[in-house]
């Protein structure tokens, strides 16, 4: 292989070699870039807060009665109305909510009667461990699969991959989750039905709460029985979550890579006698990655939303499960909390991918 001989033949220097003027490097430092993004995050959250607050309040439903629960008596409902400040005009309620939010108080959940922030801090890690695993699976399998399809363009391998990815992308997530459950629990019995941990292990090997990530906590505390059990429980929900993004990433990799492979610098590199595999995976893929990285940022948000279905079906106690119950019980404070969380994760994920894109491709402003 001759890859090592052209180590400095990265696209940047190739474009210089070819006499093209590269895009001017932006002066903005990475810090400034990040700060700008964070300012954008605050604006986005403000807009989101207005939308969610006023939309949810427009839905008919007596928040005070929901808070009291049961066969509540009229006096109790009125008392709760005063306690929750619901007797005030809506804009005052909003101002109060935002005022408290800046002090880190998201209010009390109407359903669990616990601070929403506390509920979320327990639920978010549980979802993130599923989402991150799904994302890693999607990237680690999706990019090579797309690369393979590009190399074997128009062959039967390409055709097979096309079929597989088309199915993966178009299957509704709840159907896919049920299908996996039916096949791997009901029929084959290879994987567990639901939950994070075998019920009996909750008695014998409970997981100590350290970070909230059950897989990390069980490992750190040396609770290997629980660790393997949690990993075993994560397989089906993570696979259900990852298949859609995997298909999408694979298709995008294929098309992006094929486009890059027609560029002048690849022709030049090919003329320089670099092997095809090296061309595709070292020089082609690096330039094809930029659109894929952009998509990965979006994928995180999509995966967070898909946890709504997957967590319900697999009884996984994360933010999706929490959100779904909050929606059905019109738990407004919890809904606001979930929206903020997903909005924040979305912006942070996009910022992170943008930073990575800048590192991979310095032409990006």
């Amino acid at each position: 292989m001759v890859c090592y001989t052209v180590n400095n033949l990265d696209p940047w220097s190739i474009s210089q070699l070819l006499g093209k003027e590269p895009d001017a490097l932006t002066d903005m430092s990475l810090t400034l870039f990040t700060l700008k993004r964070l300012a954008g995050l605050v604006t986005l959250l403000l807009v989101l807060s207005v939308l969610v607050f006023f939309f949810t309040r427009a839905i008919p439903g007596d928040v005070a009665a929901l808070y009291v629960g049961g066969n509540a008596k009229p006096q109790q409902i009125e008392q709760a109305r005063l306690e929750l400040g619901l007797d005030k005009p809506l804009y005052i309620q909003y101002m109060r909510y935002m005022g408290k939010l800046f002090q880190g108080d998201m209010g009390l959940s109407l359903r669990t009667h616990r601070p929403v922030l506390k509920d979320l801090s327990e639920k978010i890690p549980m979802s993130l461990e599923l989402v991150l695993l799904a994302l890693v699976l999607a990237i680690l399998l999706g990019i090579p699969l797309g690369g393979l399809a590009a190399i074997k363009q128009d062959s039967w391998v390409d055709e097979m991959i096309k079929w597989f990815t088309a199915t993966a992308v178009s299957l509704p997530i709840f159907f896919l989750a049920l299908l996996l459950q039916l096949l791997f629990f009901d029929q084959l019995g290879w994987f567990p039905l639901q939950g994070r941990l075998d019920s009996m292990l909750e008695f014998t090997h409970p997981i100590d709460l350290i970070t909230g990530f059950s897989i990390v906590d069980s490992l750190v505390s040396g609770n290997y029985t629980a660790f393997f059990n949690v990993a075993w429980h994560m397989v089906l929900p993570a696979v259900a979550l990852s298949l859609g993004p995997l298909g999408f990433i694979a298709r995008l990799t294929r098309s992006s890579l094929l486009e890059v492979m027609t560029q002048d610098y690849i022709l030049a590199a090919r003329a320089a006698g670099i092997s095809e595999g090296c061309l595709y995976f070292r020089y082609g893929l690096r330039n094809a990655l930029s659109p894929i990285l952009t998509v990965i940022g979006l994928m995180v948000a999509l995966l967070m939303l898909n946890t709504f279905f997957v967590e319900m079906i697999f009884n996984w106690p994360g933010i999706g499960y929490y959100a779904l119950i909050a929606i059905t019980s019109l738990d407004f404070p919890a809904l606001m909390g979930v929206t903020f969380t997903i909005g924040t994760i979305y912006v942070l994920a996009n910022t992170a991918t943008d930073i990575v894109r800048r590192l991979v491709d310095p032409r990006i402003k």
Partner: protein
């Protein structure tokens, strides 16, 4: 590499043998759709009472219908009432300890009742007639009322009557909601993970002792989805489940490893007629509709046969229920003739019916009412909306509200007053539960009189309750649809679950064991 493989195999092997067989006989998993709103025994007034009832105790407990005695003594060993029904003296059980080690005395009773009434949340309204709690000595407590009330039933209520350790002191709801408990019951709360799972673990110092067959630890897996509960039950992962999809009960009943236990419940279904909107403001039209409801079909389709036709507001088996209460039977001819008398010989009007979309049974039987009413020439628009929306709309202006409102109801304690008062007394301009918007001062007076009489003259009170229900039945502001049968799907090996309608949806785990 080889060493790593060996390690892996070893760990996997440990995983597989981690659960000793004996642990299975004392421990069980309960796949439950019933969540926890609060763990504070003074505030709780929702589905969590089924867990609190296993952690906390009350002075008395109402026995299931058909028992020899009406009450069982729990933390009390006996009580006497003054002739005027204003003073009750309870003798208390000795040798009881709370989970925190504090001994149970009369101070605890005083502390608990005062804490609950002072907080004024949840089911605290049951103590509305309380004047004072006096400690006579360590094991005698006197409860003094402002006006007569059925105090023993209140003290045995499913909500708001728990006795807790006085060591709780000033601790608020947050302390409990972190997963703490202060009860004296057979089980104590462990490993509380809100919205996920919690363990009701054996309390070694329980006064009832642990000899004989008992379940020692119950892992409650909060499982909202009925299908997941079903699968957990079928695969023996769970010994007990809460609420399965309606059409799966037959399967569970027939399978070898699972069964379904049935028993009475005080849960009933009803249809409120809007008495403020024409044409339902006419008594004869309402009576006609009460005769046009296909009660048997509702029971068959809506409840898979597991219900009986209701006879008025008081459910079957509860004090106040009587065969003397008028019951409307399904009879379209009678309905037609009543409609003709009211001036609607061919129907010819439209009605809207609302039900809670999340209530599977209501969704199944609402169309049956629609099709029967159509036979009388009455168009019914059936609207399934979320419970909160349905209720919010009904609490607005009655003139613009729905015509028919389907509701599921259950009482808080074993006296009919709460039901009769909440559902039918004059709520004036602020309707909450009287969603027929029914007004009848004679009725209001009669139920109050019965309530005050219950301590001194239970027979007279019963008579008044029956008369009051018949006043309602003659006016027909509500069609009483079905008293439902409680169902518990479980593993065939699980024994001892007694269904007690005074404590809806409550499995008392201490009585249960695995065969």
């Amino acid at each position: 590499m080889k060493t790593m493989m060996k390690c892996l195999i070893l760990i996997l092997a440990v995983t597989l043998v981690a659960v000793p067989a004996s642990a299975m006989e004392k421990n069980m998993v309960y796949s439950s759709p019933y969540g926890i709103t609060t763990l504070d025994p003074s505030v709780s007034y929702s589905t969590e009472s089924q867990y609190l009832s296993n952690m906390y105790e009350t002075l008395l407990k109402v026995n299931p219908p058909g028992s020899k005695a009406f009450f069982s003594y729990v933390l009390a060993t006996g009580f006497t009432a003054s002739d005027d029904g204003l003073e009750y003296t309870f003798n208390l059980r000795k040798g009881v300890k709370f989970h925190d080690g504090t001994p149970f005395t009369a101070e605890a009773v005083k502390f608990s009742i005062e804490r609950t009434t002072k907080m004024g949340k949840g089911a605290a309204f049951i103590w509305g007639d309380l004047k004072e709690v006096q400690v006579v000595d360590d094991f005698t407590v006197k409860v003094i009322l402002k006006s007569p009330a059925p105090l023993p039933m209140i003290a045995a209520s499913a909500d708001g009557s728990y006795i807790m350790s006085p060591s709780v002191g000033d601790k608020g709801q947050e302390w409990f909601d972190e997963g703490n408990d202060a009860g004296s019951g057979p089980y104590t709360l462990k490993n509380y993970k809100s919205g996920e799972s919690w363990i009701l673990g054996k309390f070694d110092g329980y006064w009832g002792g642990w000899s004989g067959k008992h379940i020692e630890n119950i892992l409650v897996k909060y499982t909202k989805d009925g299908l997941v509960q079903l699968k957990m039950l079928q695969s023996n992962e769970a010994m007990l489940a809460g609420r399965l999809p309606i059409d799966s009960y037959a399967k569970v009943r027939e399978a070898d490893n699972t069964k379904v236990i049935n028993g009475p419940s005080y849960v009933n279904y009803m249809a409120f007629f809007n008495t403020r909107r024409p044409p339902l403001d006419r008594q004869k039209v309402r009576k006609a509709l009460a005769h046009a409801i296909p009660y048997d079909d509702i029971i068959k389709i809506g409840f898979d046969g597991l219900a009986t036709q209701a006879r008025g507001p008081v459910p079957k088996g509860q004090f106040g229920y009587s065969e003397k209460v008028i019951q409307y039977e399904y009879n379209l001819d009678k309905a037609r003739s009543l409609l003709a008398q009211a001036g609607f010989p061919d129907g010819g009007f439209k009605l809207t019916l609302t039900y809670a979309a999340e209530n599977v049974s209501e969704g199944r039987f609402a169309p049956l009412i629609q099709s029967e009413f159509k036979k009388l020439g009455i168009e019914v628009e059936v609207k399934g909306i979320t419970w909160t929306q349905q209720w919010a709309k009904a609490k607005g202006n009655p003139k613009e509200a729905q015509d028919i409102f389907l509701l599921t109801w259950w009482p808080t304690y074993s006296d009919p007053y709460e039901t009769l008062y909440s559902l039918l007394h004059n709520e004036k301009d602020k309707p909450v539960w009287n969603l027929a918007y029914y007004v009848n001062p004679a009725y209001d007076n009669m139920i109050r009189k019965a309530y005050e009489m219950i301590g001194s003259n239970p027979d007279g009170a019963l008579d008044l309750y029956i008369q009051a229900q018949n006043i309602v039945q003659k006016d027909a502001p509500v069609a009483w649809l079905a008293d439902i049968v409680a169902t518990w799907p479980m593993n065939s090996k699980l024994q001892g679950l007694v269904i007690n309608p005074a404590y809806p949806n409550t499995p008392f785990f201490y009585d249960m064991y695995i065969e």
